[in-house]
Homo-oligomer: 108 residues x 2
Amino acid sequence: MNIETVASQLEALGNQTRLTMYRTLVRAGDSGLAVGKLQLKLDIPSSTLSHHLKKLVEVGLVTQERQVTTLICRANYTSMNSLVGYLADECCADEAASCSMSATEEAA
Amino acid sequence: MNIETVASQLEALGNQTRLTMYRTLVRAGDSGLAVGKLQLKLDIPSSTLSHHLKKLVEVGLVTQERQVTTLICRANYTSMNSLVGYLADECCADEAASCSMSATEEAA
DNA sequence: TCCATATATCGAGAATAGTCGATATATTTG
DNA sequence: CAAATATATCGACTATTCTCGATATATGGA
């Protein structure tokens, strides 16, 4: 996890449309959601959806798996864990103690 | 924590300059860092720094406290916790089980 | 082969963001 | 009051992003 990766992932999530998409996938869990289903659910033009989806996939927050004619999208929990870990990690590293955050062990 | 707040916070962190600034403040801990110290540390023009700092303050990730002539900046750990909680929370909510994320209890 | 479905790419316009030098403001010190 | 320090705002330029309709591609079925 270098800072560029983290920044690009945060930027990807820092757009309401993409955050909504991502959250919908997170809620969908391991079974994921087809692109079309996501589109129906969120009522977004397919080009816009595809554009944003691409960004989420590029930064590694979403994975895609082709199933015959449809493309299943899934939130990548591993990368979410790393991201969360990065944010929580190193808190107060330059200081003594008094930190309310507990560093996530899984931080990569 | 509504989605707009979360998106704006993520967007604020989704820029390498701001993420670096924020991380530096996180590492600095409760004692914080004056704007000028931050500038020296990161070697960024003061106007650019001020511009980015403003954004971090606006979204609530950083707080500022005036100390006579200097302005001390601190990472707001509470909002960081909320943000992290939001990301981890509701994972697989629309599904049965099989979720690797453990929801952060402190999520607000 | 032709059509329907699923998804991606293209192209363009409007909006927003990132950066920086110059300048402004406010505070302290001499 | 003048100079120095600390930080913010302004103005401008460039670059990037967001969004969408139109079009392209790829796959499976009649």
